[in-house]
Subunit: 408 residues, 2 copies
């Protein structure tokens, strides 16, 4: 099936070159398609790595191994297979990953723990080992490529390539960030997985990089949803080659730590939002801002309850300022809420305050706002200082068409 480019797509940005890494892609042929589907990223010695993975109890072998490998905090290579997620394939799936790791270890003369593998695509079919072996061998010999080529090669049913960059000053030294991402929840028939990768030349200790990534992830990738369906393979990895010329950053108190975190956060936020912009059938980008919660975490859960509600998402698709459905979604979130303190608005205009519709509520500006492509929903719980913003897209006939009308 051919998917139209999302109307919410963004052009691929100019991204900086990151010293100490090389991108390569080849067509391994995991599916019968005419495009690169294996990406090999070589990283200089002592590159720091951090990662966050799906919480699925049915995670793939790639995720399972990645978690173990992270304990070392060092990376020399990343291999991404597109077209087959290798999830739910038992010992055969694990063997396929081990084979790829062994092949790269031999070629780069590095350690087993330094080679990370991700796979995305159909669930339940072991990754074919012969295709993987030939693909990795070819990738090791392939010419370097640019960011957009790599962003395209890791995609499956993505309708546009997604990348984001940033920079930060550490003392007098400018450090660069570049990231790519694919997916939007469980995207299309039999396809799965959000994969995100951020690279920087900053010198940063793996333990601190992990703290920064976990924190940035909580405010970005963990705040997006397309359909509430968590993949078995979701992975975000951050790599720091350490080639920038500044004193190493080992703790939050070191010079430049805040600036580096801000840049990492900004790249993660942009990548996360790009995933939502490629949500299946998406026609509107929705930001749900929750304030007045008992904690930030509680605000995030209320926001996700709203963002995952099919009735809220279809109302936005229909341009309907149906704040009753937002009340419903707040009520079912399982978080502290008091009906009589709850306020709800769209596009900055309150429709209801303190548990009651506003007597002078003017729906006209709200209706105009809902005709646009960028929608905001504001919720104030009136209980505390906790706040969070969550991003999602609307639920349209396109979602049903992609997931029900075509056989996988």
């Amino acid at each position: 099936m051919d998917l139209d480019r999302s109307p919410l797509a963004r052009p691929f940005p100019e991204l900086p070159t990151i010293e100490g890494m090389t991108l390569r892609t080849v067509r391994a042929g995991y599916k019968a398609w005419d495009r690169a589907d294996l990406t090999l990223i070589e990283l200089i010695q002592d590159t720091a790595v951090a990662g966050v993975f799906t919480r699925s109890a049915c995670a793939s072998s790639e995720v399972e191994m990645g978690r173990e490998q992270l304990r070392q905090g060092k990376a020399r290579a990343l291999v991404v297979n597109a077209g087959n997620s290798n999830a739910f394939t038992g010992y055969r799936g694990r063997e396929a990953v081990e084979q790829i790791v062994a092949q790269v270890v031999e070629a780069l003369d590095c350690e087993r723990e330094e080679v990370f593998v991700s796979s995305t695509g159909v669930i339940g079919v072991p990754l074919p080992r012969d295709i993987a072996r030939a693909g990795v061998a070819a990738a090791l010999q392939a010419p370097p490529c640019g960011w957009e080529d790599a962003a395209a090669a890791i995609g499956t049913t993505d309708t546009f390539t997604k990348g984001a960059g940033a920079s930060a000053m550490v003392g007098e030294t400018r450090v660069e960030f570049a990231g790519i991402v694919k997916g939007s929840g469980m995207i299309a028939p039999d396809m799965a997985t959000m994969l995100g990768y951020v690279f920087t030349d900053a010198r940063i200790a793996p333990e601190l990089l992990q703290e920064m990534l976990s924190s940035a992830n909580a405010a970005t990738f963990s705040c997006i949803t397309v359909d509430g369906d968590t993949s078995t393979s979701d992975t975000v990895l951050a790599f720091a080659t350490g080639r920038a010329d500044h004193p190493p950053i080992r703790s939050w108190d070191d010079a430049g730590a805040d600036a580096v975190y801000a840049a990492l956060l900004s790249v993660c936020r942009e990548l996360a939002q790009l995933v939502v912009r490629d949500g299946e059938g998406a026609r509107k980008f929705i930001a749900v801002s929750v304030s007045g919660a008992q904690s930030d975490d509680s605000a995030r859960r209320v926001g996700l309850s709203i963002a995952n509600s099919p009735l809220v998402k279809t109302a936005i698709a229909g341009g309907d300022a149906n704040w009753g459905r937002v009340v419903m979604a707040v009520g079912k979130a399982g978080e502290p809420a008091d009906r009589d303190r709850l306020s709800i608005g769209f596009g900055g205009v309150w429709a209801a305050r303190d548990g009651q519709p506003l007597a002078d509520y003017d729906e006209a500006p709200v209706s105009r706002h809902l005709q646009g492509e960028e929608i905001t929903i504001e919720v104030d719980l009136g209980l505390g200082a906790g706040r969070a913003t969550v991003w999602t897209c609307d639920l349209t006939h396109g979602y049903i068409a992609i997931n029900a009308d075509y056989r996988s």
Copy 2:
């Protein structure tokens, strides 16, 4: 908007007369429609009552008052308003309910705690007190009606009337059960609420009735989902008029208690399944059976994770035996699960066992099963003895059309 009758509809059954109660309906005119929309059910003195309500933190005044009234365990009347849920209407909503209660208390010379009120329909508009007053006055004078009339009058965007009956032997005495229900989650634009009512002439103490209803509810109404969107007004009430000629049943050890519970459970299960059969856009009825969980409750949560997954529901809509999506939904449920012990089947045929696709899996009988209207999904977690069955419907273009294409 006119909704077509659900293809999964069932004819309204013959229901027994329950001694000690009278049904009446009138057109109050909560909406501009030509149908009865106010139901008044009068119950004989000392009728026992039990109830379960929505867990929404934004519950309506009706729900709030119902919870308080239940402590007495006695009922003389039930009033159901259709067309306006009176939810999220602050003190004005509460006043409207108080007014209805006071009016019935005066007419029947009973206590405030004995008059139960439910309302269903648009959220955020206070129930109009003048319309309610005239409606209740007319209902008090109206001629008695039958079960199907009452089932129709409590409905909103339901596409068919829903009822179920059962009987049980208490010693030599036959006791009768009749129940009616409306809704299917948050049904249609601005509409809300599942309301279910079960009536029996059995002599049963309110405390035991409450225990039985809570238990039956956990295995029936709490095991259905259409879109995962919990209403602000969900209510199930059970009334026992005590007119049957048998010794009172006060505990689970008393003669007839088990038979009465079995009949109550059967009525609740049938009513719950009828709600799913009227799910928005439903074309297929899906039973998800989970076994091998660490507890029954854990099995139910895994079942609901599958039944609420838009990717699973669209796969069934498309007749696609996409068991990878079931793996995903198990994995994200947040319940104990072990990928390598997980087995998944459709229509009684295993597609994957112990974490791997079956080598000799024959998709042909599964595809035939998925062409039908009654679908089963079997999941075995391989961990323990916990089991549960959950019921839902598929997710189709009809759902989007009903909720996004029409303005409320």
